[in-house]
Symmetry: C2
Subunit: 117 residues, 2 copies
DNA sequence: CCCGTACTACGATGCCTATCGTACGAGTCG
DNA sequence: CGACTCGTACGATAGGCATCGTAGTACGGG
């Protein structure tokens, strides 16, 4: 009933040094993935994949989460049957100070500008 | 002998309102295009396409400049036979304050980190 | 032990794109 | 005009990628 243990299923992550700016930008240049990242930043906590209600199939969702993990934007860990996702804020801030906040602010502004329909 | 006149050949640009964050991020997620933008930011002036010595053919160079223009990152204008390129810093800053500087800083840091070979 | 839930793996598909080569248009200079 | 430079247009090619569907694996609960 308490938090399920972390499973041993391995999920390859890039080390901080392996994270590349172009990879991060490419990952965030997809609206679906930016949406995931914004939601994670908003709650400032880990969220399971199934928490997100995206207008695509689960296959596609899995794909997007993998791109985010492999680019170094997210960390993922299995906890029971759920796969929890967290922003790698410390690593990104360490490599590119201020960039993540700047990108999130830019996304917020665009959402406010366009979403006021 | 003075600066040649601006030609009438038209080059379609997005208006400021049409610029999309995902388009900008996609444009800058290509190392060749990021390199162009960094060089333009460094000199803080317009540069002709031929000024850049990129390790690709002229066809490909044209393609990259078009992507940058159509995403709203660059403004381009013909002056004589040369096509001059300038960063749309005001428009980008207006839409996404601080983002451009943040991205350039991130690119500088990565270049310093990786290029110290 | 069986079932349901959560997520994955794999293959297919159609589109996008980075790259090239060649042929062409626009402009400048002699 | 003629030659040269700068950049474009177009077609081809190869690889990437967002999406889907189906079948399958891992885990937890009854």
């Amino acid at each position: 009933m308490t938090s399920p243990a972390v499973s041993s299923r391995d999920l390859p992550h890039p080390t901080r040094e392996e994270i590349r700016l172009e990879g991060v930008l490419h990952a965030l240049s997809d609206p679906m993935r930016m949406r995931i990242v914004r939601e994670l930043a908003a709650v400032d906590d880990e969220l399971s994949c199934s928490h997100f209600d995206l207008p695509v199939t689960k296959s596609t969702t899995t794909h997007h989460f993998r791109v985010l993990r492999e680019s170094g934007v997210l960390q993922q860990v299995y906890r029971g049957t759920a796969k929890m996702n967290g922003l790698r804020k410390d690593d990104l801030d360490g490599l590119f100070p201020g960039l993540l906040d700047c990108l999130l602010d830019a996304a917020d502004r665009q959402a406010a500008r366009l979403g006021s329909a």
